[in-house]
Symmetry: D3
Subunit: 232 residues, 6 copies
C-alpha cells in the first residue's frame, strides 16, 4: 500500500517530523511518502493561511493520485480543503482532526483538544461540531505557542503543552486529550507518559485509519459531492 | 459608503449581473463596485472549484481593504473563504448564503434552498447547519442545471428553477425559498411573482445587510479568530 | 421608507432613547417613528411582563400597518410576541435579540450577551437557541441591575455593565458582546471604546436590518404560520 | 388535591369537554375545576390568538393561586404563556403539549403529532424542539380543520383526524400519535381503537402529570426565571 | 392499580428504602410492590454493573407482567435496560432518570444532577441527551461517594451531597437539582429544606408519573421497537 | 497483534462468516480469533435480545483480556454493551455500528443504513445520534428480513437488501450505504458491484479500525467511565 502524507505548509522540518510519525505506526507493507506543499505559508495559523496553502496542497494530492497512491493524509489539524482533496482522489483522504477526534470517541467518553494559538480554537470548535464530536469534546484549549515554536529546540513549547494537558485533566474532567497540531506528533509518547491519560496524535491516527479504510476496500464515494471536479 | 461586491469566479457576465443586482437595492449614498476574481474557475461547482477561487478572491478583498472599502460581499452561495476574507478586512464581510438564510429566518418560519447542481447540495447543507438555520431549512434542492447555463439566454434554466420552487412549496411545506446561486440574482422578481412566495436572493440580502452592519457601526472583531493574518 | 420602532413597555424615556438610537443609524431617506405600548408594564423583566405588554404591543403594530409603515422593530430583548406581530404586519418585523445575535455571527466567531437581571438569562438562552446561535453564544450574563436603573442618571448601571463585559471577554473568550436590553442603546459607543471589542446594540442592528429587508424587497411570508390572523 | 384546568380560549363547550376529560382520569381525591379565559378569542389558531388569550389566561391562573389550587393545567396545545403562568403560580403548571410529547417518549421510541390547521404546525414544531423531543418526533401534521369544527356535531373533523393518523402510521413509521389540540380530547379512546396505536391526548396526560408532580411534592422553582413577577 | 418498583441491584436495604419512598407518594388506591434483582451486583457503578444486573432485572419485569402489574418503575438512575423492559411489559415502564429530568423541566428552566461517583457522570450525561434535556441540564456532578455509603448510617454521604447541591446552586446557576441515585430517595425532603431549591428524587417522580400514565390509559406501544421480544 | 472478534449471539455460522470477513481484511501480522457468545439468543433483534446476550458477551471479553488480546471487535450492529466491554478490556473495543458510520463519514458526505427488521431501526437511529453522525445519516432503513434469513442459502435476503440499497440511493440521495447487520458481511463486495456506491460493512471497518487504534498505540482510557469495574 502506498500512503502519501502531505504537510500543507512549507516547513520541511515539519514534513520530516510528520513523515517519521506516520512511518513509525504504518504496517510493514505500507510505503509512506511525505510531501511538502511548497509555496504555502510556513505555518497555518488561521483561515487566511488555510486558503494560502490549499491550492498547493491540492497540487500534491493530484500528484499522489497520478502516482497511484492508495490514500492521502492531510497533516494539519485545521483539515484544510479536505472536501476538495476528496474530489481529486479516488482512494480515501483523511484529515488529522477528523481522525484524532473520532479515535478519541472510540477509547474515551470525552476528550479535550490542546492546540497552539488561541486564534485556532474557533476553527477547531467548528471542525469538532462538523464531525459530530461536540458532545464528546469538553473544551478546545490553546497552549499559546506559535506553530513554529514546535520546531525550535530551545523553546518552552513542550512544557506549555504538558501544562495545558494537565489543566485539561483537572478542569475539564476529560478522559483523553487530542493534540491539535501536526507539529506535536513527536511529543505523543512523552506526553502520554507524563500525563497518565491517552494522548492522541492526529497524524498517527490518520495514518492508521487511512490504512484501515484501504484495507477495508473503501474508496471515496464518487456519486455526489466528492465526484471528480467538473472540467471547465 | 463604499461596498465592494466580489464575484469569486472569473465569468465577467456574472459579475455584471451581480453588480447590477447589488446596485438595484443599495442606498442612494452607497457606491457599489463589482470585482471579478480573475484567474479563478469560470464557475464554482464543488469543493475543488472553491479552493481554486479562494486565493484570487482574497487578492480582491485585500485590494478592497487598501481602497478603504467599508464592507465586502462575496457573491457565491458556497460562501468560499469567508473566514479568511474576514481576517483580511476590517469592515464587515458577508457571504450570500449566510445573508440569504438569516434573512429567510426573519420573514418566514421555514424555507427551502434551490441551487444549481446536486453536488452542491451537501456543501450548502453544511453551511446552513453552520449558520444555525438547519431547524428552519426544510430541504436544499438542486434544479440540476450547471451554473453557466444561467448565463446562456436560450437555456431552460429559468423554467427548471421555477419548477423546483413550485415543488419545494408543495412537497416541503416551506414558507420562503432562498436562491442557492449568485447567478440567479436577476430572476428574483420574476420568480417571486410566478411562485407567490417570498423568493430571497442572497446577493440582494448580503448587499443590504452589509450596508446595515456598516451603518450600525459594526466591524469585524479583531481580538480572536478574525484577527489580521500573522505575517510569516 | 417608514420604520416604526415600538417600545413594548410603557416607560416613555426608554422610547425616546430607543428612537434616538434608531434615528442615529437610519438611512437619510428613512422616517423613524417611535411608539410606546401604553398600558404595558413599566419594564419587561420576565415572562409575566412579556405577556402583559404583548396585546398593547400588537395594537401598535396594527396601527403601524394601518399607517403603511414599511417595517416594524420591536425594541425589547425578549423579542415579545414577534410571531404575532409578523401575522399582523405585511412588511418585515424584527426583534432586537434576533437582529443582535445574527449580526454578532457576521462579525465574530463567538459572542456573549450581557443583560440586566438574572431572571432574564434563561429567557434569552431560549431565544438564542431558537435563532440557531447557541453554538456561537459563549454565555448569557446578567449585570444584576433592574431595567429601570438604566433610566436613572445617578445609578451604577453603566459601570456594572462595563464590568460584566470585561468579565465576559476574560472568562468567556468571546469575540463580541451583544447588549441584552433596549435600554442600553445609548451606551454602545462608550462601551465599545472602553472594552476594545465590538459591542452590538440590538436596537441599532434591528433598525438597519429592517431597512435592509425592505430595501431587498422582502416581506413577511403570508402562506404559512405568519398569515394574517383568522377573523373570529 | 385541587387542580384547575384552564381553557385559554373563550368557547365554553370546549371548556366542558376538557373538564370532562380531566375528571375522567383524575384520582378519586382530586377536585378538578374547569375555567374559561373569558374575553379570549373563540379559538387559538396562531401566534396572534395566543397573545390575545394570554392575559385572560393569566387572570385565571392568579385566581387559581388565590384559591389555593395545587396545580394548573393550561389546555391548549400551543402551551400559551406557560412561563408567565409558572411565575404566577407556586404549584406546578403544565401545558398539554409538554405533557403529551413527554408522555409519548415514555411509551414509544417515536411519535407524530396531528393538529388542526397547517398554520399551527411551525408553532408546534418549535415547542417540540423546546421540550427536547425533536429527535423523537417524526412529523407534525395538520388534519386541515379549524379548531371549532371539533365543536360541530356534523363536521367531518373526526374522520379527517383518523385519516391523518393512519397516514402518520404509514408514512412516518411512528409508534404513537399525540393529538395536537385540546378540542380532540373526547376522541382519544375512539381513535386508539380505530388506529391500533397509542393515541395520546395532552389534556389527559397533563392532568395526571400535574397530579403526579403535586403528589411528588414538587413546586415551581422560585429562585430563577419562574420567580414571582416583580411588582412595578 | 398495582405498581412494581424494581431495585436492579441486590442490596435489600436499598429496595426497602426505595419501596418506602414510592409508597409515601403513591395514590391511596395504588399497591406498590418492591422487588430486588437478586443475583445482580450489590450496587450499579458503571456500564459493567449495568450489564450484570440487566437480565436479573428483566426476570423481575417478566414476573411483574405475569402478575398483571399495571406499570413498572426501574429504580436505578442509569435507567438500565429500559428498552428491554418495555419490550417485556405491556403497561408503562419508567426509569428514574427519565422521570427525574423530565419533571425538572416542568418546574424549572434549568437543573443540575448530583450523583455518587464521577465514573457515572458520562453515563448520566448520555441519558440526559437521549431524553432531550441536555439544553436544560447545567451540569452532572458527582459527590464522590460510593453508592453503598448511602446505606451506612455513619457515613458523610448526606453532608457531601448537600455540599455538592450548594455548589451546584452557586456555580451552575441551576433552578432545581435532580438526585442522581435511587439510594438518595430518603434524603429528598431534608435536602429540599436545607438547600432552598426544588430537589427532585427520581424514585418519587417515576412512581407518580407511572401512576399518571396508567391513569391516562397509556400503555407501551407494541407496533415498533417495543414490540414483544421475538421468540427464538 | 491478536484481535478477538466476538459474535454476541449464539449462531455459529454467523461467527464463521464474521471471522472470515475479519480475516479477509486484517493485516498479515494480525491473528484474528472468532468467538461465539454461547448461551446468548440465536440472533439479536431488539433491546431484549441485546440484554440477553450482554453478560455472555462480557465473559468472552474477559477471556480475550486474559489471553492478552490487543483489541476486541463486537460484531453486532446494535453495539451491545460496548461501554461495559471497554471497562473490562485495556486495549480498544470497537462496535461495528460505530466503525461503520464513522468510516462512512470519511468517504462520503452522507449515508443511509440498511438493516434487517424494522424494530431495529430506532435502536440504530439512537446509536447514530450517539456517535454524532445524525447529520450525515439520511435514513435508517430495514429490508424486512429476520437476521437468521441471512444464514439460509435459499432465502431472498440478498435480493431484498439490494433492492433496499437501490431505494436508498434513489430516495435518500445518499452517497454511501452502511450495512446494518453483521450477518451481511459476506455480501459487501457483491452489493458494492451491484449498486455502484460504496457499501460499508461494519465488521470489516471495525476490524481494520481496531488494528489502527492498536498500531497507533491507543488504549481505552482508564481514568473515567471506562475504568475497570469496581469489585463488589
Amino acid at each position: 500500500m502506498k500512503l502519501v502524507v502531505i504537510n500543507p505548509n512549507s516547513t520541511r522540518s515539519m514534513t520530516d517530523k510528520i513523515t517519521d510519525a506516520a512511518r513509525a505506526v504504518a504496517s510493514p507493507g505500507t510505503v509512506v511518502e511525505g510531501r511538502t506543499a511548497d509555496g504555502a505559508p510556513a505555518s497555518i495559523e488561521g483561515h487566511f493561511d488555510e486558503v494560502m496553502c490549499a491550492h498547493h496542497l491540492l497540487r500534491e494530492v493530484q500528484r499522489a493520485r497520478d502516482e497511484a497512491a492508495d490514500a492521502v493524509v492531510v497533516a494539519c489539524f485545521d483539515d484544510p480543503a479536505i472536501g476538495a482533496c476528496r474530489e481529486v482522489m479516488d482512494g480515501p483522504v483523511l484529515g488529522i482532526c477528523e481522525a484524532g477526534v473520532k479515535a478519541a470517541g472510540m477509547i474515551a467518553t470525552s476528550f479535550s483538544v490542546v492546540t497552539t494559538l488561541p486564534r485556532s480554537v474557533p476553527v477547531i470548535e467548528d471542525l469538532v461540531r462538523r464531525y459530530g464530536m461536540a458532545d464528546r469534546c469538553r473544551r478546545v484549549r490553546a497552549a499559546a505557542i506559535p506553530v513554529l515554536a514546535l520546531e525550535q529546540p530551545g523553546s518552552d513549547a513542550r512544557a506549555r503543552i504538558r501544562a495545558e494537558i494537565l489543566r485539561a485533566i483537572e478542569e475539564d474532567r476529560c478522559e483523553a486529550v487530542v493534540l491539535g497540531c501536526a507539529g506535536m506528533a513527536d511529543l505523543t509518547e512523552w506526553l502520554t507518559a507524563e500525563c497518565g491519560i491517552p494522548v492522541i496524535d492526529g497524524v498517527t491516527a490518520a495514518t492508521t485509519f487511512a490504512e484501515a479504510l484501504v484495507r477495508a476496500g473503501l474508496k471515496t464515494s464518487k456519486i455526489g459531492a466528492y465526484a471528480r471536479p467538473i472540467q471547465k
